[in-house]
Amino acid sequence: MSETFDAEAYAELMARVMGLDLRPDWKPAVVANLRTTHRMAALVLGHRLDDHVEPAFVFEA
């Protein structure tokens, strides 16, 4: 996980990728939320798991 996550640049890029209208007055709060999600994801990714631990999706064929 990168220690230098540029949330603002990432938000601008992903808004174009995902077709999102990132208005200037909305951007600070979106960027703040992205930083929080990044911090949460870093915590999760910081816990090494055995390769055989599978995701807990619910699906039954």
Binding site: Y10, A11, M14, A15, M18, G19, L20, D21, L22, R23, W26, A29, V30, V31, A32, N33, L34, T36, T37, R39, M40, A41, L43, V44, L45, G46, H47, L49, V53, E54, P55, A56, F57, V58, E60
Partner: protein, 467 residues
């Protein structure tokens, strides 16, 4: 007709209606009068289904006259407005969904309440699309706390907490993805049940996060929770995600008391970042249950973080088209999160789901050593409406994001929880404590809640209101 019976328990109401001391129509009328008297101030209801409630009441009275037995005979209730109610638009707290056609059918759980003799009074206010812990809603106005209307009801099932706390109905149904039953139960001083993930059908309710959504009841007594939970259970072919588990009747075991249960307090993560009232409430409940040992839920902070990532990414995937085309129609507080969530890399989401499997296995091991775990429901009493920041353990942090600090790790792993209401000596506001049981053992959590109720440790009085 006095309001006393409406202020009593659902159990007492059903008994009085069944023995014809009072009619179901009287109860429907009383509930409608109470809503008319107080809801302008409290804003719990977004839709009042008066004609339906009266018609259901007449049907109940007719069935009783014909000799039928109904476990919820004449019990008024209402549902968070993400439950489908036939003929009513399922708004899910949003402006956008108001453009949808009215629901063609009731949610399955509404059908079950009706079959048991319940009277549906309407749909209840909620945070937009359930992405909320406050009970605040920019479109419908805020659901207010019945014990202090200047404070938050808690969310996202805010109206569900307000309506029961104020005595408009003795029972409501809500949903809980990260704490949305347990938080309003804590702030409004109620008993709230979040069953095991997969226990109750979610058919015909508006989703938030498919991997984490649960439905459950609020009540002013633990006995009422068990009564309603037993009615709500059962396999539903309409819900592909429901677990294929047999129903678990909880009422017959409710009075067994502690009966040798091993109770421990959640330590570490669950003893920090909280106001003194949260710690004192846990200590009070722990002492009453003879819980002297602490247990550590492994990596609880990471569990909360994983729940956060799954919630952000999956909810945004659900809303992608709307957040692309109608972003200005969202509540600003949810729009920011849905926009950010639409940018989450897939590897973050998958990592969170893999962590969930690991955490589930660890929690199973922990429950080899204990039967019940006690933890705070919220880090503090209901904050004043509009509160943005709080200071916990000397650290200033966002209030709304951290209200669910202690509920998120538990719903993440799907364990059944009863939030029980505590009134500390001299306190003007209640606060909740989570009674957490092993998966599929709602009976244990309900037994403990009932023990705390009959011993007077927990109570859920109707709020004192003008009108």
């Amino acid at each position: 007709m006095s309001l006393d019976i409406l202020n009593g328990s659902a159990t007492a109401i059903a008994r009085a209606v069944a023995t014809r001391e009072v009619s179901a129509r009287d109860l429907a009328t009383l509930a409608l009068e109470k809503i008319a008297a107080v809801d302008e101030t409290l804003n719990a209801f977004t839709d009042v289904t008066a004609a339906r409630a009266l018609a259901e009441a007449d049907a109940v009275d007719a069935k009783l006259a014909a000799g039928e037995t109904l476990p919820l005979a004449g019990v008024p209730y209402a549902v968070k407005n993400l439950f489908d109610i036939e003929g009513v638009v399922t708004r899910a707290g949003s402006k956008i969904n108001r453009d949808n056609a009215p629901a063609a059918h009731d949610a399955t759980l509404v059908t079950r309440m009706q079959a048991a003799g319940g009277l549906l009074l309407g749909g209840l206010n909620m945070g937009e699309y359930a992405y909320d812990f406050t009970g605040e809603n920019i479109h419908d106005g805020n659901a207010r706390n019945p014990h202090d209307p200047g404070r938050m009801s808690g969310g996202s099932s805010g109206g569900s907490g307000t309506a029961v706390g104020a005595g408009m109905v003795p029972i409501s149904l809500g949903s809980d993805t990260n704490g949305s039953i347990r938080v309003p139960a804590s702030f409004c001083g109620l008993y709230g049940l979040k069953p095991t993930f997969g226990r109750l059908t979610r058919a015909r309710t508006y989703p938030f996060v498919a991997s984490l959504d649960h439905l459950g009841p609020f009540a002013r007594s633990a006995e009422d929770l068990a009564l309603v939970f037993d009615v709500l259970q059962g396999i539903d072919p309409l819900d592909p995600a429901q677990a294929a588990r047999p129903s678990l009747p909880t009422l017959p075991e409710l009075e067994r008391g502690l009966d040798g249960l091993r109770v421990a307090v959640a330590g570490g993560y669950f003893r920090t970042r909280q106001m003194p009232e949260a710690r004192a409430a846990v200590d009070l409940v722990a002492a009453a249950l003879g819980a002297r040992d602490e247990v550590i839920l492994p990596e609880a902070e990471r569990a909360r973080a994983a729940a956060y990532v799954i919630t952000n990414a999956e909810s945004s995937a659900l809303h992608l088209e709307r957040i692309q085309t109608r972003p200005a129609d969202y509540d600003p507080d949810t729009r920011d999160r849905f926009l950010a969530g639409a940018m989450v890399p897939a590897v973050w989401l998958t990592a969170a789901h893999r962590f969930r499997s690991w955490f589930r296995d660890e929690m199973r091991k922990l429950f080899d050593t204990v039967d019940v775990i006690i933890a705070p429901a919220t880090p503090f009493h209901a904050p004043e409406t509009g509160t943005k920041m709080v200071t916990l353990d000397g650290v200033e942090m966002l209030a709304r994001a951290n209200i669910g600090l202690f509920t998120q790790p538990i719903s993440f792993v799907g364990l059944p929880v009863v939030a029980v209401p505590v009134w500390l000596d001299g306190a003007k506001l209640p606060i909740g404590v989570q009674v957490i049981a092993p998966a599929w053992r709602e009976d244990i959590a309900l037994r403990v809640a009932r023990h705390l109720e009959v011993t007077g440790v927990c109570k859920a009085p109707v709020a004192m209101l003008a009108g």
